[in-house]
Amino acid sequence: MNEDTILDVRGLNVRFRGNGRETAALRDVSFSIGRGRTLALVGESGSGKSVTSLALMGLLPPNGRIAAGTLAYRHRDGRVLELTELGEAERRRLRGVQMSMIFQEPMSSLNPLFTIGDQIGEMLFLHESMDAATRRKRTIEMLELVEIPGAARRMDSYPHELSGGMRQRVMIAMAMICKPSLLIADEPTTALDVTIQAQILDLMRQLQKDFGMSILFITHDMGVVAEMADDVAVMYAGGVVEQASVDALFNDTRHPYTKGLLASIPGPWRRRGDRLVPIPGSVPPLASLPPGCAFAPRCGYAEPRCREPVALTRKAPEHLAACILEGVEAP
């Protein structure tokens, strides 16, 4: 694993039990995140983004398991840890301190019965031994850092007294207070309206500048990708179909699915009045994927050889795609 890589995911397979059988939710997911960089994980709903993030955190639901793959994580102290080999107690010591997570649902991700200050301060209680007064001081500082007005007063508020945007700021404060080196954000702004979304994205970029952490930014919005990401991994039906720097992905698109995603959003290159071109069809049920390329049923370039297994291959330096084609013309 490269010295500048903080997390390297190789061949990650996650399976879920249910109705007496096991189905694959992730099929050989591979990507890596550079130190201090932001990797966007994009894909339509149901492509396995959340499952990937939960597998990284060690928080898969009881019916899910990692069936294969490695998750190499570079600890703050320089050691490289294989997360899949750690016991539950060791995983727990990493959570919140080394890698933190914020979730899509700001309205329901905070405990309704504890104050904001209590919930953020609990991180310090759990991971850093300090007295209550110091915890309170640090918590107020953190609330100020995420730009919550009247931080000292807000400490004693309950989640229901805050707007969605404010709650997401609280989640960010909670995730960041122990200065993790990796922040996983699962669609942190999807539930928020556009202005608030922009503010939260600004805040995250600012915090990244201050704290220097890496971010795994999960989204289905290519506009947000353009704004936030250094690198992008595109997921389809439980697999990564393309990974590249954000520039390369937008300007030298190699996978027809990525091309479809780019075409389906309004972008600066799009004239007013142009019709959005959504990708026809929908993600097939994971239990009944076609053999070979999973995107074939929806792909305008599909050929008979797409029914053979298609691996993620290098199309250019630092540019991987899982397609028989060398590339597709820019959208």
Binding site: G96, S109, L110, P112, L113, Y158
Partner: protein
């Protein structure tokens, strides 16, 4: 908050008033003349007339009603037709076994049911979960008089571990009396614990699937802390609700349990009062229980307020 308390207090006054009215009407509707009943079959019509006059039964009905309410407001619920004593004193003399029986059985139910319910929910589908749910279902379906009889037979009569019945006699000390309540409390507690267990399990199951429980895990705390701090507090509200509701069950159960174990409590008092047509005592018990019920309701609502700051009355 103060406003709320005032409103609740007014509500309690209204309910009490209604209860008094219902109790009054019920007894007037009952067959038989109380004075004739008190005096027995040998009394002359003149005796009955005299007693009716002294009881105020010859007054117009609304005068009787007002007198009744006015007296009740001062804690005077009339005189027992059977005992030579006021209803209040009769009730007071019989309250102890019932109060402690209810209290102990509730404590027993909570101590048994909540931890098992929490654990069963946490390990849903496990052998322990399944056996807990099955046992609870069985326990809830066996009538408590049967459980009581079985306990009495095996744990008391055969093994001699506990007293089989009674309240220790007139000279029994406090501890001895309480010792006589152990089997009855368990008997009565079993039915309630089955209910509380199922409720605890169900509400914990709901809560454990909540997003904030996932957040708690993501914060890097132990499972123990996730469950006992973040989940349990949220499950507390439905649990308190069901505990409040089981109070009604407790009262009904106390009547049966006291019969089985021959305890001189309010339950057996009211059963005997019915058999003897001792209307003032029936009336008095009804009023006391109803007021207690309203009071417990208020208590659970106030507990919500303490636990959940979203609750605004």
């Amino acid at each position: 908050m103060t406003n709320y308390l005032i409103r609740r207090f007014m509500g309690m006054v209204v309910v009490t008033f209604l209860v008094l009215t219902i109790a009054f009407v019920l007894v007037r509707l009952a067959p038989g003349d109380p004075a004739a009943l008190m005096l027995g079959p040998d009394a002359t019509p003149q005796d009955v007339m005299d007693l009716r006059a002294s009881l105020g039964l010859d007054q117009p009905i609304f005068v009787q009603y007002l007198t009744f309410v006015a007296n009740a407001a001062q804690g005077d619920l009339g005189r027992s037709l059977f005992f030579d004593n006021s209803v209040t004193s009769v009730l007071a003399a019989r309250a102890e076994p019932t109060v402690f029986l209810s209290l102990f059985s509730l404590i027993f139910a909570l101590v048994i049911a909540t931890p098992i319910g929490i654990y069963a929910a946490y390990r849903r589908g496990s052998a322990l979960d399944q056996s807990a749910v099955t046992t609870a279902m069985l326990a809830a379906s066996v009538p408590s008089f049967l459980t009581g009889l079985i306990f009495q037979r095996y744990l008391a009569t055969e093994l001699g571990w506990f007293p089989a019945s009674g309240y220790g006699g007139p000279d029994a000390g406090f501890l001895d009396r309480m010792w006589h309540l152990v089997l009855p409390s368990i008997t009565l507690g079993i039915v309630n614990s089955a209910l509380i267990l199922r409720f605890t399990r169900a509400s914990m199951l709901d809560i454990l699937g909540e997003n904030y429980v996932r957040t708690a895990r993501a914060k890097g705390m132990s499972e123990r802390r996730v469950v006992l701090r973040h989940a349990l507090k949220n499950a507390g509200i439905p649990i308190i609700t069901v505990v409040g509701l089981t109070f009604a069950l407790l009262v009904a159960g106390a009547v049966v349990t006291e019969r089985v174990f021959n305890l001189p409590g309010l339950g057996s008092l009211v059963v005997n009062a019915v058999l003897r047509r001792d209307y003032p005592v029936i009336q008095g018990t009804l009023i006391v229980v109803a007021i207690l019920y309203v009071f417990i309701n208020l208590l659970t609502d106030l507990l919500y307020l303490v636990i959940d700051k979203r609750v605004r009355y």
